[in-house]
């Protein structure tokens, strides 16, 4: 054993030296570094792309027409929050206001849930701060019958699909009013009545499933579009690549969103890929990819509507890269100031999606600072009431939860004999 070990060691050593001609080698493995780490000054350049830069072709055009879009940035709102250019979706102020209100509710809800977690009233939380437009605008641009496969950072879809803040708070607590019966960690929602498929922690698994769901829509000939979201980090998973390849082969009605918020926990996106654009990956598979200013509500809405129209007219898949910034910690388990400058978000050139939409509505004369302030106050008050009510259905620490024997429900449709026996064992333990 020792001999063969020594031999192997020798072999390994010579192997590691055989790449240099002269026998001398220097390590040259390239490992990318994040652009800024704590203590460094965040340096982002302003977006060079402007709202009028990219044309908006008919959604059924050949994908090669979209090459500039895969490497550019679809924008509607400029740096002063004025809307212009061919991608302006020209939606009414009412819809814009609805979007604004949803984003504000989500932001307040997130911050209250974070507080609850700090107080020990939630086991965990994960916010979507500064990327609320990604889910909100897309959700509003889609049809209520469209099927959604989100990741854990698109809470706004829940509100759009008819769940209430109370439903969401109860899921986070996991109490007796949680429709998923306390099975999952907070923010892992499932909302069948609103066509939101159960969210899984293993990242990216939803992407190829969504493609399959879109294939099923075509199989039935239904006019349904399917949309899914995953993160920049997750775009490294095999599941991402299965998804785009199957999508490219069967061309089902699917919108695949990469939410590029620059970070995957502590890992900068330059470790997720050596490429410059996630959207450009679609080109190699023969379908359109568009990079979209993810903090521009109107751009997200327009790009999603374009992709949905393409899908509904049997034009096949679209890959959308939502270019945004993760405004908060990854989750309540990490402190981002340990791996990125604490103030990095302030320098993000895409700004704050809530602020930008608010300014835009003010320019339109459809909203005022005063109205916004009272919206903030009303929302905060509503959420206080929601949390109070939610905890009447059970708190994390005291319960009540669903009773212990429900552990065995839903493993299968019906309880098999061995689980019946285990359930009886558990019940025997209770006294």
């Amino acid at each position: 054993m020792a001999d063969s070990q020594a031999e192997l060691h020798k072999a390994r050593e010579s192997a590691s030296q055989s790449n240099g001609q002269d026998g001398k080698t220097e390590p040259c493995l390239r490992v990318p570094e994040a652009p800024h780490r704590p203590g460094e000054e965040p340096r982002f350049s302003r977006f060079s792309q402007q709202p009028g830069d990219l044309h908006r072709p008919d959604p059924l055009v050949d994908y090669t027409e979209l090459r500039p879009h895969a490497n550019g940035l679809v924008r509607v709102l400029d740096d002063e929050a004025h809307a212009s250019g061919p991608w302006n979706p020209e939606i009414d102020a009412e819809t814009l206001l609805e979007g604004l209100k949803i984003m504000v509710r989500i932001r307040h809800f997130d911050s209250r849930m974070l507080t609850m977690q700090r107080q020990g009233r939630l086991s965990f939380y994960l916010e979507s701060k500064m990327e609320e437009a990604v889910a909100t605008a897309a959700g509003l641009a889609l049809h209520p019958d469209d099927l959604l496969f989100p990741s854990y950072r698109q809470h706004a879809l829940m509100l759009i699909r008819g769940a209430t803040l109370l439903d969401m708070a109860c899921q986070c607590i996991g109490n007796t009013r949680d429709n998923a019966k306390g099975r999952q960690m907070p923010v892992h929602y499932s909302w069948r009545q609103g066509k939101i498929v159960s969210i899984s922690s293993p990242v990216g698994t939803q992407f190829p499933q969504a493609v399959g769901a879109a294939m099923a829509a075509d199989y039935f000939g239904r006019p349904q579009v399917v949309a899914s979201w995953l993160g920049d980090g997750t775009a490294a998973q095999g599941d991402f690549h299965y998804a785009i390849n199957f999508a490219s082969v069967y061309r089902p009605p699917i919108i695949l969103n990469v939410v590029n918020n620059q970070w995957a926990i502590s890992t900068h996106r330059n470790i997720a890929t050596g490429g410059r654009s996630f959207a450009a990956r679609a080109d190699a598979y023969g379908f359109p990819g568009l990079r979209v200013d993810g903090n521009d509500f109107l751009a997200v809405y327009a790009a999603t509507a374009w992709a949905a129209e393409r899908a509904r007219r049997h034009g096949g898949p679209t890959l959308l890269e939502m270019y945004t910034y993760r405004g908060g910690a990854h989750s309540t388990n990490d402190d981002p100031s340990r791996y990125r400058p604490a103030d990095e978000g302030r320098f993000w050139p895409g700004g704050d999606p809530v602020e930008r939409l608010k300014q835009h509505l003010i320019h339109l004369g459809a909203w005022t600072e005063e109205q916004h302030e009272s919206l903030n106050q009303d929302t905060a008050r509503t959420i206080t009431e929601v949390v109070k009510e939610a905890e009447t259905y059970g708190t994390m620490n005291e319960g009540p939860y669903d009773p212990p024997e429900t552990i065995f429900d839903d493993v299968y449709e019906e309880l098999p004999p061995h689980l019946k026996r285990q359930r009886d064992e558990l019940l025997g333990e209770q006294d």
Partner: protein, 336 residues
Amino acid sequence: MPKMNMIQAINSALDIMLERDPTVCIFGEDVGYFGGVFRATVGLQERYGKHRVFDSPLAEGGIISTAIGMGINGLRPVPEIQFSDYIYPGFDQITNELAKLRYRSGGEWSAPLTIRTPCGGGIRGALYHSQSPEAYFTHTAGLNVVMPSNPHDVKGLLISSIESNDPVLFFEPKRLYRGPFNGDPHKVPTWTNQPGGDVPEEYYKTPLGKAAIIREGADCTVITWGAMVHVSRKAIEQSGLNAELIDLRTLVPLDIETVAASVKKTGRCVIVHEAPRTTGFGAEVLSLVQEHCFWHLEAPIIRVTGWDTPFPHTLEWQYMPGRKRIVRALKKVMQE
């Protein structure tokens, strides 16, 4: 002797091996600059450089497969899988490639990987931050499977694993990282002044394939591993029985000699593990005990395990085997 918790002991083992062997390298999600979500690799990138300790793309299948290639071409990689619940995208590469490389090449090729991964429940992590998937890997020939239960063993076993030329699945019960959780989530002692909390600063090895007798006893034998070692120890105290407690530490290769000697002595056996029951590794231990000790057994062997369900969130403590469940089993095994 210095006191260390499990994280510090793991960090110390990695530090020593990076220092001793220039072919050792560490990579995985968030292990580089940040030092890992559980902080196991803190400071190592700074000390040894970016080509030795580095972040990987978020792709477990990619991490395992590239680690195999690195191993084939002369390195001794110690990849980290952030949670063992996320190891499955690498399952094909582990079971079909890593495990079979030596065999299918007639001994020509191998890859000396040590795959570190936190496992187990008790942190309110629900379905996907709580699993104990060791049995999937014990079922595949060609892999060693290790699950230490204290700082001293984790360091010695990690060093042995890294030095082993065979691949090792190295499961770290995350509930034990900061203290020997023994069944009460509200009262977890720290590792200071606990058995196993004294960890030499320097290099040492704890042999693979050797179980540890945590507590000697004559009434019955409790066989367990991972976090359940401490829960079982507490349960034995509470039961008032004089039970012998064995921590397997390594599941493959299994130290059946220590196990059989104990069961032959006591005639009674309880097996405890956190993973689900059906085809859990307890089933294998039970079979072996039956094969080796049948004529010495005075009672049927009892298994205390997690239920055959996914790991729930709010009902975590009704899922996890606790002291009560173990005490009941101890009483029952003594009654027969």
